[in-house]
């Protein structure tokens, strides 16, 4: 149990990283919502609220999945590699992956539908390997150079403000869904 706990980041570290995740995921969802809102507004107010609530709840779900994945990494990888630099490494990793995802979604997502089967299996494995290597590299950099680690950690700490915005929004959305769908 103590080994399990010692592999895990602290609560403060998890909170900071979750703030970054929530900022990235929710901001993207809200940005995309502006695209869909004109067509949603043709429905009733209840429909608009319920649809938006589903989007928010899904964003929360996505955020939790990502956090869970990072915590799994933290548990599986050596302590010195990831846990010790959990905040700056995760923040940098998330930023890089988010940029890649945005690029893929905005211009290249159709590429997925052009890949052959072995490419579809191989490329994600390669990406996973690249992510693991990146984690090692980043932790090496942040262990060696404290200044960038501190700067990125402080940015991540400031991102926690978004938890105070988006999490209540998510809870409100859950309530709206319960009212809309159950009562």
């Amino acid at each position: 149990m103590s080994t399990f706990k010692s592999n895990f980041p602290t609560r403060a570290q998890i909170t900071n990283v979750f703030g970054v995740i929530v900022f990235i995921v929710f901001t993207w969802s809200l940005y995309r919502m502006t695209w869909f809102l004109p067509s949603w507004l043709k429905g009733s107010i209840q429909d608009v609220l319920t649809t938006s609530s589903f989007v928010m709840v899904f964003a929360l779900f996505e955020s939790l999945i990502i956090l869970g994945t990072l915590l799994l990494f933290a548990f599986l990888l050596p302590v010195k590699v990831y846990r010790d630099t959990f905040v700056p490494t995760s923040t940098t990793l998330l930023t890089i992956l988010a940029c890649f995802s945005v690029y893929l979604l905005q211009s290249k997502v159709d590429i997925i539908y052009q890949l052959e089967l072995r490419e579809l299996v191989l490329y994600p494995i390669l990406i996973l390997v690249a992510v693991i290597i990146l984690v090692f590299l980043l932790s090496l950099i942040f262990n060696r150079f404290e200044s960038p680690a501190r700067i990125i950690s402080s940015i991540a700490e400031r991102m926690t403000v978004f938890l105070y915005i988006y999490l209540p929004l998510s809870i409100l959305s859950i309530l709206i869904l319960l009212i809309s769908l159950v009562f």
Binding site: M33, F54, V57, F58, E62, S101, V109, L120
Partner: protein, 514 residues
Amino acid sequence: MKSNLTRREFLKSAGAISIIPLLNRINANKLAGDSLSSEQPNIIFILFDALSAFHLSLYGYQRETSPNLERFARRSIVYHNHHSASNHTIHSTSSLLTGTYPWTHRTLSSKSPYLEETKRNNIFNLLGDKFFQTAFTQNINADKILYKLDRYLDQHAQHDSFSLIGNSLYDTFSGETALNALSGLDNFLFDRDVVHGSLFLSILNDLNTRIGLKNNSKELKGMYPYGIPKLAMSNVYFLLSEVTDGVADMLGKLNSPHFSYIHFMPPHAGYQPTSEFMDMFDDGWAPAPKDKHPLGKKIKDKQLNKLRHRYDAFVSNVDYEFGRLIDQLEISGLLENSYVIFTSDHGELFERGTRGHVTKLLFEPLIHIPLLISSPGQRERVDIHELTSNVDILPTLAHISNIQKPDWAVGEILPGLGGAHNPDRNVWSLIGWFMGGGQQSEIERVSLALNKGEYKLVKYHGYGSAKNRYEFYDLRNDPEELDNQYKSNPIAKEMRAELDQKFEEIKSPIEKLV
């Protein structure tokens, strides 16, 4: 064939909602056969989306697109002048299921809730316990309509039944609000035609979908040059042949008598026939170009002809699959003891700068749809040339089920199945939009067509480039609607009085309607 359960269960459990059971669409209390008469024939209603009569060789089209339909016609009543109440699925399907025109059921968008009267006044409620009632549609908009009438159905197959792979959330929970909201979420997360709303998980979903598609790569390699068909507004992929076989199998397992409403997506856009149909019409033929309409788009004729070519190939594909379906019904014995109805919800246009059916226009290719009805034991072809409408379907089905035509249904029993021949009847088609107050408010912008005998008058009202525009065509002498005789033909003035009166009635806010 895909399995829905794992992915849907995962998404349901992962969401914040922990309750709400999945809607039980099989009414266990209604055991098929309990109150059903074995003497009543089945009614199998087969509809293909966006199939225009103008593109069927059965109705005289230049290209040989429908040999199987012509084979079926040999034992059917063929209605040559059948019209849809609208050029859009939502309006048209609601008219078909309720026997009323769009200004009565007022379902002018996928988000329009059904009025209380419409929820009661529909074909499923009317047929009641006489049949085991089954419905299946691949069209999400039509499926939402079926969910509004779900309480009358004994079996409601999910819209992605018999599909290859894909995700769809909208029918996870019951209720209109959930339907509309989850449909919005489906588009937001999964629709391939727009940038996804989820930054990470939607990419994984695309990957998963593609892997699923490629798992069938040997079988599908080269089969679909324009890509595997996809249900509109979703990322659900299907093979028409598998859907046909799935439907035939489903129909074969139903206890008689059953009323089965089956709505296939093809030949709706994106026009994705299999490779064996692709080269069928490399004949260099193109129809004579027509002037662009002020309310149409500005697509060039060359592009329209390319799309028309793909559409015609897809229509041939549809015809082939319909032929296979009929053969399977014949083998199973269903054809002999069923009314089999073949039709469409609306047509498709490839002229005047416009393609598709999402348009303000109401030219004949958009609203003139096929209708063939084969009665049990019928061996001879009968041709009916009078004007008919898809609002006639409900009264006709009631009649053949020995149910009195309800007062609220405005259609007439079809000639050939007990109805009178009426060459002077009015048949209406409408596409319209409400003002800001929703479906109880005034219908603001509208295209309204009156077909009467061999003449047609169309009114376009409330559009920026056509505040009040009339067009009149003599369809007997000008079936291509090239010569607008509104100003020269005296019959136009007579019909205008009638059309304008109807227009004043229908555009009113709902509380003023009888």
